[in-house]
């Protein structure tokens, strides 16, 4: 059973991962599909894959039920394991690369409730920071905020390098969405967003073009999809808006590159996309694809 499929930055390669413990990479240019690599290394079903930004080369991260996170790299046309992280006590459910401006940082959320952050410090070395007990019974999803200072589209850029505040959102089995902020090298919980009545299955932070609004989408086992918007740049007041209540568990949400379409996939065998305006007003446009 396939658990995840992601295209790389340019849309030329597709990585898929499945219960058969493998990660497969296909070349999908011009509508073709050529299997480039079949990566083995996990001892359990692989839950998610994530492509890093191409400026670092061809790097793919995968996380699996066997508590491992493996980072694969393509060297001279062959894919190889460059790093394996085994610091979790339970299934690692989600991996997400940070925006490339922050460097090569990977966030991993696990069922033991902890979130680890792996940062590449150079020369094949990775530094690990762990947030223990981020979500009590397990963390299901992590998603980074875009590396744009909110409001930079409207205010004049000052010309000096803006100092980014690294933020990411995580969703867990305690029905919460939490926002984490890095302060002085330590990660602190900035916000707790409560609206779901069952496990939060996925969170996705919308890409930003510099407008002062930040938007997060979260979906849950209870069938609800919420859009959280924060209008001020300091990120303190988040207000939820229910996008839709589906009949079955919603597994995954994903924003389009221009952040005006949200794709929602749920257990009632339908893939729906909804068009969302940047300023928080959402309209539903139903069921593009139905699986038969």
């Amino acid at each position: 059973m396939i658990h995840d499929a992601q295209m790389d930055y340019y849309g030329t390669r597709l990585a898929t991962c499945s219960s058969d413990r493998s990660v497969k990479i296909f070349d999908v240019r011009n509508g073709g599909q050529i299997l480039i690599a079949d990566l083995r290394g996990h001892e359990g079903p692989v839950w998610q894959v994530a492509w890093a930004h191409p400026m670092y080369g061809n790097i793919l991260a995968s996380c699996s039920y066997d508590r491992k996170v493996i980072i694969w790299k393509e060297e001279n046309g062959t894919w190889e394991k460059t790093y394996e992280y085994t610091g979790h006590d339970s299934s690692v459910n989600s991996v997400c690369w940070a925006p490339h401006d922050y460097g090569l940082i990977l966030a991993c959320g696990s069922s033991d409730g902890a979130i680890s952050l792996l940062s590449y410090t150079g020369d094949g070395q990775w530094e690990v920071k762990k947030i223990s007990n981020a979500h009590t019974i397990g963390c299901n999803a992590v998603s980074w905020a875009p590396a744009v200072v909110p409001g930079s589209l409207i205010e004049q850029p000052s010309g000096q390098k803006p100092n980014y505040i690294k933020r990411f959102a995580s969703g867990g089995c305690d029905n919460l969405v939490k926002i984490w902020k890095e302060e002085d090298g330590q990660w602190k919980e900035e916000q707790k967003l409560e609206a779901h009545s069952d496990w939060v299955r996925d969170v996705a932070w919308a890409p930003s073009i510099g407008l002062p609004t930040s938007t997060i989408a979260s979906c849950s086992q209870d069938g609800r999809v919420f859009i959280w918007t924060c209008d001020d740049a300091s990120g303190n007041s988040w207000s939820p808006k229910l996008l839709h209540k589906f009949n079955d568990v919603v597994w995954h949400v994903s924003w389009s590159i221009t952040a005006n379409i949200l794709a929602v996939s749920g257990g009632d065998n339908k893939v729906s996309t909804a068009a969302c305006h940047v300023f928080g007003r959402a309209m539903m446009r139903q069921a593009l694809v139905t699986f038969v």
């Binding site: 059973m1 396939i2 658990h3 995840d4 499929a5 992601q6 295209m7 930055y9 340019y10 849309g11 597709l14 898929t16 219960s19 999908v28 359990g44 079903p45 839950w47 039920y65 508590r67 006590d89 339970s90 299934s91 459910n93 069922s111 033991d112 409730g113 007990n133 009590t136 019974i137 397990g138 089995c173 305690d174 029905n175 919460l176 707790k192 409560e194 009545s197 069952d198 496990w199 086992q221 597994w251 995954h252 994903s254 924003w255 389009s256 590159i257 379409i261 794709a263 929602v264 996939s265 749920g266 257990g267 065998n269 893939v271 996309t273 068009a275 593009l288 694809v289 699986f291 038969v292």
Partner: protein, 723 residues
């Protein structure tokens, strides 16, 4: 991983799956006594809040009960009304069955007991709600008594059939999870009876003939309607048997792993491959019944756990009640146990307050609690990932508006097992289909090169006049002779203009004398109409530069009048490069200055014509001279000038005339002077002849005027001859 714990000697019940937030109800257990030997009974409701990382559960409601409980269950009955949270049914001693309203317990306003019966003859140990009809409840007690209660009518129960022989206690009743009228009951003698409520009689009796089973627990398969498990409490056969009713003479398989009798089982409703069991060997095991293997093991420290239950709402959580008076909530998703040991040590230390009991004035070191289990107990998680963690469907966006999706296929009909396809779909998201359609058309047109038709098509479908203009312009641009056609589009076509001008001229300002030259120019105009546009273009560009230079510095905005009066017509003619017409109009309007200026720009011929006409119109003394000079018409001057001003005429000849003409013209002047003038002027004629170099005439003239021949004069003649 232990999540929560409370210290209660109690039986427990989870809130149903659709109830949020998650509650755990506990009722003082009838079969146990705690250390204080109290027989007080309380029913309590705790909130199991996973957002709170501490181990305690908050008590939400409490109620003193009249008797202690053997079994407690929580049902959905009455959940239609918004304020109700279901009912709790407690089975107690002496056949007492009490129904409590949960909402009233939580709010503690009114009396929470909404029903009580004592129909049973002994302690009610078995209770179960029908999963399909929330008002149906089954209860079992001594003497093989099974009653079916309708909660709407709590006083009169039904029986599922005749009591099974021999009479014995019922340890468990359970409704089938797939078929709503099937009920089963388990007896301590090791048999299970399956009842059909429609027929009102038992349909099958299932028992292991070795007769060593003491049924302590029973559960139906959540998805397969004909399978159930029975667990045995007997230490000699501590197994869990899986039976399939389609073949009811011997069990399908046996799960052997416990070393001592199994006390309770619980089947996870969210994932049928997880079956929990607790036994007298102090262990809680989680099995995969289909494979028959243990997937998870949770060691408990000291006491037997007599009741395990999966949480209906949160599928990775289960609760275990142990004989040492604790109810613990665990999660199967791994994690470690060390947190629990630490708090124990802390609790003991803090109650002694680090005081010095011996009065030595020294602070005691922190208490070390001997650990029965290794410090870092890492319980490996379930071997196989549970169903609720496996994501079956997903979608993500990619660059270029592509959508990657994968998912389940819809299971046709009654097929239980969903087939998992190995396909990923890549689709293109088009939000603006109209836009795409148009761009595709454009692309086709570009490829075929057939742009004119494309533009034509656009013109026809254009809704706004602006759009139409736009497309017309584009189309014309692509054609040959684009410039003339563009002009036409603008509304300035040469032919139209010509018509306008002729009509204006014929009707308009009548001029004084239709001069022959004017007619010529009029006749010449149709020819000039056929002048190639490129000439006009050149003229336009040069004239525009010319006009640029004419504009003074601080002129106001240039208005180009396009009205039908003379000004307008003139400017229209200029726009089209039709200088002749413009000049004509100017002349008609007696704007001679404009006419001349335009004529200069219009070319050599036009200038000459205009000059002629101008001079024809103006007849002053000076104008004649002007016209002659400008037109270089010396002959006229010579022939028509006043003889008194012969010197001036000669001066003009000297200044302007070319060498060839000069002699001839001088002669003419001289001839005139001679013939028309008097004697004084005849002498002057000689001067003319001298300047023209015409000797014969000079001589003639001189002889005429001077009779005497003098050698001086002859001498001068000879000199002239020599010249």
């Amino acid at each position: 991983m232990k999540l929560k714990e409370i210290e209660r000697t109690a039986v427990q019940a989870w809130s149903p799956a659709n109830h949020h937030p998650i509650y755990l109800a506990t009722g003082t257990s009838a079969q146990q006594l705690d250390a204080s030997f109290s027989t007080n009974a309380t029913l309590e409701i705790f909130e199991v809040d996973f957002r709170d990382p501490s181990l305690d559960m908050k008590q939400k409601g409490t109620l003193p009960a009249s008797n202690r409980f053997h079994k407690l269950i929580w049902g959905n009955f009455g959940n239609g009304s918004p304020e109700s949270s279901g009912v709790i049914i407690g089975g107690g001693d002496n056949g007492v069955l009490t129904m409590y309203s949960v909402h009233h317990i939580l709010v503690s306003k009114s009396e929470p007991v909404i029903g009580q019966t004592e129909k049973h003859s002994g302690p009610v140990r078995a209770l179960d709600f029908n999963p399909f009809q929330s008002n149906l409840l089954a209860s079992g007690a001594n003497d093989s008594e099974i009653f079916i209660w309708d909660l709407n009518n709590f006083s009169v129960p039904m029986t599922p059939g005749a009591k099974s022989q021999p009479h014995e206690d019922i340890s468990v009743v359970s409704w089938n999870r797939q078929v709503q009228h099937i009920l089963s009951s388990a007896h301590p003698s090791g048999k299970a009876v399956v009842w059909d409520l429609r027929k009102n009689e038992p349909i099958i009796k299932v028992s292991d003939h070795s007769n060593r089973m003491h049924c302590s627990g029973m559960a139906w398969h959540p998805e397969v309607a004909t399978q159930l498990v029975l667990s045995s409490e007997d230490d000699r056969l501590p197994v869990i048997q899986i039976w399939d009713l389609r073949f009811a003479t011997s069990p399908l398989s046996q799960l052997e792993g416990h070393t001592r009798g199994v006390l309770s089982v619980s089947w996870c409703q969210a994932d049928p491959e997880l079956l929990l069991s607790s036994a007298k060997d102090n262990r809680i095991l989680c099995w995969n019944p289909s494979m028959g293997e243990v997937v998870y093991e949770l060691p408990i420290r000291s006491q037997w756990c007599f009741d395990v239950q999966w949480c209906p709402r949160n599928p990775s959580v289960f609760s275990a009640a142990t004989f040492d008076g604790w109810i613990n909530v665990y999660s199967v998703m791994g994690g470690n146990l060390e947190a629990q040991q630490k708090t124990q040590a802390d609790k003991i230390s803090s109650s002694f307050n680090n005081l010095d009991p011996f009065g030595t004035g020294q602070i005691l070191p922190p208490l070390q609690v001997p650990e029965q289990v290794a410090q870092t107990t890492l319980i490996p998680p379930l071997k196989k990932p549970p169903k609720w963690i496996r994501r079956p469907v997903g979608v993500s966006f990619a660059f270029g508006g592509k959508l990657i999706s994968f998912g389940l296929t819809k299971a046709p009909g009654q097929q239980m097992q969903q087939t998992y396809p190995h396909q990923v779909f890549i689709s293109q998201v088009t939000t603006e289909t109209e836009f795409l359609l148009r761009s595709r058309e454009l692309q086709m047109a570009l490829q075929s090169g057939n742009l004119l038709d494309y533009c034509q098509g656009k013109i026809q479908t254009a809704k706004l006049p602006f759009d139409e203009n736009l497309w017309n312009f584009l189309k014309v641009n692509l054609e040959q002779e684009s410039r003339t056609k563009l002009l036409k589009l603008l509304g300035y076509s040469k032919e139209d203009l010509q018509k306008k001008i002729t009509s204006c001229l014929s009707n308009g300002i009548p001029d004084k004398q239709p001069l022959p030259e004017a007619d010529e120019t009029n006749a010449a105009q149709p020819d000039q109409l056929l002048i190639n546009s490129s000439d006009d273009v050149a003229a336009v560009s040069s004239s525009s530069a010319f006009f640029d230079n004419l504009i003074p510095q601080n002129m106001s905005t240039l208005e180009i009048p396009v009205t039908e009066d003379t000004d307008g017509l003139i400017s229209q003619a200029l726009l089209l490069g039709n200088f002749e017409a413009a000049v004509e109009l100017c002349m008609r309007a007696e704007r001679f200055a404009d006419a001349i200026i335009l004529a200069i720009a219009g070319g050599e011929n036009l200038l000459k014509e205009t000059q002629k006409r101008y001079f024809a119109k103006h007849k002053t003394k000076l104008s004649l001279l002007l016209s002659s000079v400008v037109q270089q018409n010396w002959q006229d001057i010579v022939c028509t000038c006043d003889l008194q001003s012969w010197k001036e005429a000669l001066a003009i000849l000297l200044t302007y005339s070319k060498h060839e003409d000069y002699t001839h013209l001088c002669d003419m002047l001289g001839a005139r002077l001679e013939s028309e003038g008097d004697a004084a002027l005849s002498n002057d004629a000689c001067l003319c002849y001298i300047s023209s170099g015409n000797v014969e005439r000079l001589v003639e003239c001189w002889v005429k005027n001077h009779e005497t021949s003098s050698p001086l004069a002859l001498h001068s003649l000879q000199m002239n001859q020599g010249l």
